[in-house]
Symmetry: C2
Subunit: 332 residues, 2 copies
C-alpha cells in the first residue's frame, strides 16, 4: 500500500541526530546532488542557517515567527510586488549581491539595488518620451549618454528607466493600475545618447503594509528612500548595468533603508536654459539632470568577478576551487 | 508633496556601501531596536546571511532563484499546508530548534519534529477513539501512559495525536477534506493512561508538488518518511512534548528526509491477545503499540535549556549575556 520509491542510493544510516551532529548529516544527504555548485551553495546555506539557530538558541516561538513571517512575505507578493526582494533589500543582501556580481571597475558607472518596483511591461519609447501622465508634476529633463570604458559612445543600448510619481508612488502601488506609468524602454542613438522627461524625484517610504514594514517598525528603522530614478542598461557584449541616480541634498541621502546610495550616483540638478529649451522642446527653467553612463565589456567584467571571487574565498577555513568563476568545494 | 516622516533619530551617515562594510552598516540601522534579544537575533541573522552570500559569491541568477523559491513556498502555503515548515524540516532546522528547546533530559521522552501536518481542528475524543474512518485499514491498538520524571502518573494531559492513513496520506492532503480524519485530542485518566485505535503507520513521501519537492529533486534526495504516529502532550506545569513513534524495521528508518527518527522513539509492535481483546474491545491478532511517555516539569526544562544555552555560546568570538535564558549581545 506504500507510495514510496525504493531506496536508490546507499547513504550511511542516520538516527538520533542532535544539535552536535545534525549539520553534517544534512550535508551528507544534500551532497548526493551531481552539481558541485549546488553542493557548495547548500553546504554554506546549511552551515550558516544552523549556526544562526545554535548561536541564538532560537526559541520555538521565534522559529514559528520566522516561518510565519516568510510565509506572509510570499503570500503578499504578486506579479507586481516582490516582498521577498524588499526583505533582501532592507537587510542589505541585494546591495551585497550587486557588489559581488558587478564589482567596482575604475571607469565604469557603479551599480545599485534593482528594488522591488521593476516590471517587464514598460512601453518601448523614443527619446523625448514623457515618463508620467501627471501634467502638474515638477518636470525634470534627463539627458544621458552611454560610453564604454575606452570612451567610445555605445549605440543601441536598451535603457529601461522607471520612477515613482510626484508623491513617490510607483504605478504598481496603484490598486487601479491599468497600464504602466513612469516607465519606458528607450534606446541610445548612434552618438550613444538618450533623453526623456521625468518628474523631479521625491523621497518616499517603501511599502509598510506587509511583513517587511512590521520588521522595520520592530527595528525602529525609518522606511524613507531618498528620491531617485532607476536605470537598467543592457546591450549584448556589455555587463548589465542596474543603477539609479539620486538628486543631491535629499534628507534620507545617508540613511537609505535599502543601502543603495553611492556618491558617484548622487547628482546636482541643473536648469534648462534657452538653448536647451529649443533643442529639447521643454520650457526654460525646467529642472535638468545630465549623466554619462560607462558600461564595462562583458569579458572584462567576468574576469574581474572571477578575480574578486578568488580573493573572497582565499581566507575561508575550508578548501575551495573556482568553477566557471564561482566557488565550489575543493575535491580531495 | 512628500509622504515621509522626519528623521526621528540620529544615525551616522552611510553611503558608498561595499561588500566590506555593508554588514556593519545594516547592523547600525537594526540596532536602533529597544529589544536586546531582537538586536541579537538580527545581528546573527545579518552576519550569517551576508557571510553566506560572500562565501558563495552568490550570482544574481542564484539570488533571484532564492527569492522566487521563497515566494513560491509562501504562496503554496495555506491554513492546512506549511511549505516553509517543510523547508525547515528538510534542511534539519526544525530538528535543531527542537533539540535546543527541549534538550535531552535523562528520564524524559525525547522530542522530534512537529512536521507540517499538525492542525488545530482535531476532535475532542475519549480513550478508545478510532482515529480513521477507513474500515478496511490494518488497525493498530495504541496503549499509552504518561508519567513525570519521578515515575508518578500524570492525569489530565491533553494528548494531541495525528497520523496519515493506510496509504500514508494525511487528511489535509485530501483536496475534498470536509472534516478532520486521523486526528484526536485525548486526555489521560487518573492513572495517567490513554488509548486509541490507529492504523499501522506506513512510510510516505512528503509533498513533492511544491518548491521543497523541487529542492529535494535537485539534491537527489528521496522524500520518504518512515511510518509514524505524531503525539503532542500538554499540561500546565510540564514542558510541552512534541514527538512521534516509529514502528521498527521501516526501510526509511535511517534516512528520514526530515531527520526525525530517534532510537528511543522506535517501537516494536506487539499483537492483541485474548485478555487485551476483552479489555479494549478489539479483535485478537490486531497489531498493538505500547509506550510510556515521561514529561519533564517546566521549571526543570527551563533550567536545563538555560544551562545548554550558556554552553552553546561560551565559545563564540564575541561576548554574550543571557537574558531570560536566551543569549543577547553583552553590553560593554
Amino acid at each position: 500500500m506504500s507510495r514510496c520509491m525504493p531506496l536508490s542510493k546507499e547513504i550511511p544510516p542516520m538516527k538520533d541526530l542532535t544539535s552536535d551532529n545534525i549539520t553534517e548529516n544534512v550535508k551528507i544527504l544534500n551532497n548526493q546532488t551531481s552539481s558541485p555548485r549546488v553542493r557548495y551553495v547548500f553546504d554554506r546555506l546549511v552551515s550558516h542557517v544552523h549556526d544562526f539557530v545554535r548561536e541564538t538558541c532560537l526559541s520555538t516561538e521565534e522559529w514559528q515567527a520566522g516561518i510565519d513571517f516568510l510565509t506572509a512575505a510570499g503570500q503578499i507578493s504578486n506579479e507586481l510586488r516582490s516582498e521577498m526582494t524588499l526583505l533582501s533589500d532592507t537587510l542589505g543582501v541585494s546591495l551585497l549581491v550587486d557588489a559581488i556580481n558587478h564589482p567596482r571597475h575604475g571607469k565604469a558607472t557603479e551599480g545599485t539595488v534593482l528594488g522591488p518596483f521593476h516590471t517587464h511591461d514598460a512601453p518601448v519609447a523614443e527619446s523625448g518620451y514623457v515618463l508620467h501622465e501627471d501634467q502638474e508634476a515638477a518636470k525634470l529633463l534627463v539627458l544621458c549618454s552611454v560610453q564604454d570604458t575606452s570612451g567610445e559612445p555605445v549605440a543601441d543600448v536598451v535603457c529601461d528607466v522607471w520612477e515613482g510619481d510626484a508623491y513617490g508612488f510607483y504605478d504598481v502601488q496603484n490598486p487601479n493600475r491599468i497600464r504602466p506609468d513612469g516607465r519606458a524602454l528607450l534606446r541610445t542613438n548612434k552618438e550613444g545618447k538618450f533623453h526623456f522627461t521625468a518628474v523631479v524625484p521625491v523621497p518616499y517610504p517603501i511599502p509598510m503594509d506587509g511583513p517587511v514594514g512590521k520588521m522595520l517598525t520592530l527595528l525602529k528603522r525609518h522606511p524613507n528612500r531618498p528620491g531617485h530614478i532607476h536605470f537598467m542598461l543592457r546591450k549584448a557584449g556589455y555587463d548589465n548595468l542596474i543603477t539609479a541616480l539620486y538628486p543631491r541634498g535629499d534628507p534620507y541621502e545617508t540613511s537609505d533603508p535599502v543601502f543603495g546610495v553611492k556618491e558617484s550616483l548622487v547628482v546636482d540638478l541643473g536648469t534648462v536654459n534657452d538653448q536647451i529649451s529649443r533643442a529639447y522642446n521643454v520650457p526654460v527653467g525646467t529642472k535638468m539632470l545630465k549623466y554619462d553612463f560607462v558600461l564595462v565589456p562583458e569579458q572584462e567584467a567576468r574576469e574581474l568577478r572571477a578575480k574578486r571571487a578568488e580573493e573572497a574565498v582565499k581566507n575561508l577555513d575550508f578548501d575551495v576551487d573556482l568553477m566557471d568563476g564561482l566557488p565550489v568545494l575543493a575535491v580531495d
